[in-house]
């Protein structure tokens, strides 16, 4: 164990002093994270329209018109679904929210100024407050617009206006000046509406929906739209989407750190050869596998260190909160073993420092490109996603994501981690096999 320890310490010391190598191990992945962090922060979670599910319980002209309105809205993209499907998808985290248009909506739309309007049901994960608020705003806005359009009873409206004028005149907390202004305003509104609005039908009585926590939206006592919020707690175990964009970026950052680390150590064996220090290692009373084990141990420790640093960075700077730290430890361990194997393969790739570095990085970049290290895989076409399976990067990212936000269980972890361990062991075996001990002997 002594020589392996000495070899590993020496390698770690050398890496820390090698500015370029050190940059690729720590600096570049941090920059990568910062870059995407800033991009995602700027975009917030409103990257274009949010897809929401719409459940149409009313099936009326009015409800169809509302769905049409929402379709043309820039903020949301409605998809009509059944209630069960909508609930299921939100629970799985596949969609942010669903909106249930209540029975009787079309009826109540015609008498917006009295009765309690039927309540919309907004199903959303309580963790996603920003989206919930935004969706509520959008529904209110379009529902009210719809009401205004369908609204066709100028007499009723003028009655309301008259009541308003009366209430103003009776109010004792208003100064005479305020009263004058408001009366003038309602008077003008009254004459404006008498000119523009066409006569229409009167409304029937509405029915009150059982709402757990009614959220009334309206001006003063006017309540044209009611929205009840249904907390649909998204179960991450069923989901495949993170709730923090950095949850996606963190595994990618980490992958870059792991790649930098294996590249640095892969080159270091070639450097030993070209600088002549391998001669001394070979002259020492140690055996071949000591050198390989020392190299592997140093690389492994550095990979763990990189993982730790990246994790702390992601948690502190971007609020990443891995769901399962135990699984994360498993994922990181397996990834580190995989990258030790990759390092061993890279170390036998080139004869000179430049060729080794060049070959090493091109191989790594290729793997990153097809494996989702540069761009998350779900942005890629389907065929690409299946090609990605040949890249260890994919499995690294998958195992890390599994622990960070996919809610993987140990059995879910078995596949990616098994692949990683396999690559690690195979890479180490092949690399160790190809590592030529004798100089000048071919």
């Amino acid at each position: 164990m002594g020589p392996i320890f000495a070899l590993a310490c020496k390698d770690l010391r050398l890496l820390v002093r090698d500015k370029v190598g050190f940059f690729f191990v720590f600096g570049f992945p941090l920059l990568f994270g910062l870059f995407f962090g800033v991009i995602f922060k700027g975009a917030g979670s409103s990257q274009g329209a949010i897809t929401i599910l719409v459940v149409d319980d009313d099936q009326s002209e009015a409800s169809k018109a509302l769905i049409g309105k929402l379709t043309s809205a820039a903020e949301v993209k409605p998809i009509v679904a059944t209630y069960e499907a909508a609930l299921d998808q939100v629970r799985k985290g596949e969609r942010v929210a669903y909106v249930r248009i209540p029975k009787g909506y079309g009826e109540s739309a015609r008498r917006p100024f009295w009765g309690t309007p039927p309540a919309f049901e907004l199903g959303v994960d309580p963790a996603r407050k920003a989206e919930a608020g935004m969706i509520q705003g959008v529904i209110t806005q379009y529902a009210v617009r719809d009401v205004m359009k369908i609204f066709s009873d100028p007499d009723a409206l003028r009655k309301q206006t008259a009541t308003a004028i009366e209430e103003v005149s009776k109010a004792d907390d208003l100064t005479p000046v305020q009263k004058g202004i408001m009366t003038a305003f309602f008077g003008a509104l009254d004459s404006f509406m008498s000119l523009t609005l066409a006569p229409g039908a009167a409304a029937t009585d509405g029915n009150k929906e059982g709402a757990e926590e009614g959220a009334s939206i309206g001006i003063g006592g006017w309540e044209p739209v009611r929205i009840t919020v249904n907390d649909v707690r998204a179960d991450r175990r069923l989901s495949s989407k993170p709730n923090n964009p950095m949850d996606i970026t963190f595994p990618q950052c980490l992958v870059w750190g792991l790649m930098g680390c294996s590249a640095a150590f892969g080159i270091s064996l070639v450097v030993e050869r070209t600088r002549g220090t391998l001669i001394r290692l070979r002259l020492a009373p140690i055996v071949r596998w000591h050198i390989l084990a020392g190299k592997a141990a140093a690389c492994f420790l550095m990979l763990l260190a990189v993982s730790g640093v990246m994790l702390v960075f992601a948690m502190v700077a971007f609020g990443v909160r891995p769901e399962n730290y135990g699984m994360l430890a498993v994922a990181i361990l397996c990834s580190a073993i995989c990258f030790v194997g990759i390092m061993m393969l890279l170390s036998v790739c080139g004869k000179t420092e430049n060729s080794a570095g060049g070959i090493g990085w091109s191989v790594l970049l290729m793997m990153a490109m097809i494996g989702g290290g540069m761009m998350p895989l779900f942005f890629m076409p389907k065929w690409m996603q299946s090609v990605a399976s040949i890249s260890p990067i994919k499995w690294t990212v998958l195992s890390l994501e599994g622990a960070v936000f996919r809610g993987y269980s140990l059995s879910d972890m078995a596949l990616p981690c098994g692949v990683l361990l396999g690559i690690g062991v195979a890479g180490f075996a092949v690399g160790a096999r190809l590592f030529t001990w004798q100089e000048g002997s071919s």
Partner: protein, 286 residues
């Protein structure tokens, strides 16, 4: 201590870098391999220490107890120290870190590790610079560090492949003194060089190598006697320079003095340079 017999090594399978080299180094001897560039000295050393597998022949390294083994045997290895011609040190480690690491590889630890590391650095007079990165050392200092790494584990047999290239005369003298001191403590040294002065000053026996073969092997005096030819008296007589080979240079001078005025003269004693010239028809350094 070291037996090399019938060694053959070719890098390309065509030309032999070492072509049937046989010699034996006795315990506590300083054995020189003297030859021009490309003679095969380094190759011989690399095969002798087990870095290269020979194409033919055999190497055995013995110990004080009389048993011997091949240089690839780890037990044999820990008795051997090597300072390769190509520097083998980590530029990004300090002198001390380098030596300590190589000592650890040799299995030293604790107080012994500390003491041996300090002693090796003192031996090559780098103790003052031990905390500086090897990268910041001069060429000669790096070569001295390379030497320190070879002796840190107190080997019984030391191979030094051109250890004084680029080392200034003062440090070179210090290294010579120390090698002689190490020999007094029982060390055996194999020393390659193309400086015949070094071989002459330091080595008990010298093998003269050229083109992969040993041309002659003996003590310096023996080589000079056998292959050096006669002494030469070079004298300025009657305005021209006369070169007279003679077994009795003093008698020759006396005769010249008697025959006329002798304005200037010098005596060329046969040396290893002449031995090489006579053996190969070429200068050692051309």
């Amino acid at each position: 201590m070291l037996t090399v017999s019938g060694l053959i090594k070719s890098y390309d399978g065509v030309r032999r870098a070492v072509d049937g080299v046989t010699f034996e180094v006795k315990a506590r001897e300083i054995f020189g391999l003297l030859g021009p560039n490309g003679a095969g000295k380094s190759t011989t050393i690399h095969v002798a220490v087990g870095l290269l597998a020979p194409d033919g022949g055999q190497v055995r390294i013995g110990d004080a107890g009389g048993s011997s083994g091949p240089p690839t045997d780890p037990a044999v290895r820990s008795r051997v120290g090597v300072a390769p011609q190509a520097l083998a040190i980590y530029e990004e480690l300090t002198g001390e870190e380098n030596i300590r690491f190589f000592a650890q590889l040799q299995g030293l630890r604790g107080a012994e590790l500390r003491n041996r590391t300090a002693a090796a650095l003192q031996f090559v007079e780098l103790h003052d610079r031990r905390r500086d990165l090897a990268r910041t050392y001069s060429g000669g200092m790096k070569r001295r560090l390379n030497l320190a790494a070879a002796i840190v584990h107190d080997p019984q047999l030391l191979f030094l492949d051109e250890p004084t290239v680029g080392v200034d005369p003062q440090s070179r003298n210090a290294i010579f003194e120390n090698i002689l001191a190490l020999r007094e403590r029982g060390l055996t040294v194999v020393y390659t060089t193309h400086y015949m002065e070094e071989a002459q000053r330091l080595c008990d026996r010298v093998a003269i190598m050229d083109q992969g073969r040993i041309l002659a092997l003996d003590t310096v005096d023996g080589l000079v006697r056998a292959h050096g030819g006669k002494s030469v008296v070079v004298a300025a007589v009657d305005g021209h320079e006369a070169r007279i080979e003679s077994d009795d240079p003093i008698g020759e001078l006396v005769r010249l003095k008697q025959s006329g005025p002798l304005r200037d003269f010098r005596l060329e004693q046969p040396n290893l340079e002449r031995v090489f010239l006579n053996l190969t028809g070429r200068q050692l350094r051309d």
